[in-house]
Amino acid sequence: MAYSDKVVDHFNNPRNMGSFKKDDADVGTGMVGAPECGDVMKLQIKVQNDTIVDAKFKTFGCGSAIASSSLATEWLKGKTIEEAQKIKNTDIVQELNLPPVKIHCSVLAEDAIKAALADYQKKTDGQPTGTK
């Protein structure tokens, strides 16, 4: 089984690798793992006025997991919180052409996005960061 060109590209040139300070008020952190395969993914977003201005990730796992999280950070940038909620793992599967055995990697990426958004929202709960 070969990886698609897009997966290889994200794997060789991962976008937005790194991390933010997770205690910063404008940062949301999502930390998820897949107990079945042992992959670990950390995805962070930086939010200003309800818009994701930057995103970073760190992933320990296979090529598909790295590509999925790399792609996710690319997609997140510039999106509003509400738009980001709508990113589905199937979008990632389609974009990266993931084979059935690697679908769980995209699920992990979606979980990471959701966890990061939830973390950010928990931080800002009760103190809105601007009008919707």
């Binding site: 930390m31 793992g33 107990p35 042992g38 670990v40 950390k42 760190k58 320990f60």
Partner: protein, 250 residues
Amino acid sequence: MGYTPCPLLLMDNQQSPPHPDTRRQLQMARSMCWHCQSEVTGEYFCDRCVKVQPVSKETDYFTCLGFPRRLMLDPQKLEAKFYELSRTFHPDFYQTKSADEQTISLSNAAVLNTAYRTLRDSIQRAEYLLALETGSVKDIRTSPPADLFEEILDLQDTLEEYRASERDSEQGHRLRATLQTEQEALERRKEGMEAQLRQLFADWDKLQDAGEATSLARVERDRILKQMRDLLSNRTYVNNIVNDLAATIA
């Protein structure tokens, strides 16, 4: 054969494992021979027409190999039973039989192989039992161990640094020493987890042997399954990074 009879078409359901008493009743349930339509009372063959019977897809691997759902199985007994059944279903012995029988023996042999491969390894066996016992119940999934993840990702950075460094430089040596220490520490942790798992395996078997249906037993059952889920997951994470470390600094 000296083993408790194992009905092949057990109406066992993976989603909701029946209560021990129900299981006993189910074991009484007999299936019908695909060939002569008489009741199959034998283990893997019809008593009347002596045709091989298919192992149902719903039959769990424990039942398939004739073992109870326990986690401390004797590997020698398991192997002996596997060899015995392998001979029973070996496609070579069915070459002169009908096409149906050949198909059944082949698919039985395949199920048997998967069953043995799964149960032979204590970790895989526990994973399998968890899947059987908890089925699609997702609430057994626990919050991810954030500290462990941070550690793994930090280590990943050091690994990257090492991969990028000149192996013979002072930095390379320093990083390698750091990674080696980390690997040893993680291996010890993994061993600790495995020791805890073995204790849980024993707890599980004891609970099953007691076979009580009290609410206390239910609480204990949930405790064991949840702790086992956590430990197995964490062990997988640790195991992966240990393997990665070992491969990198080898």
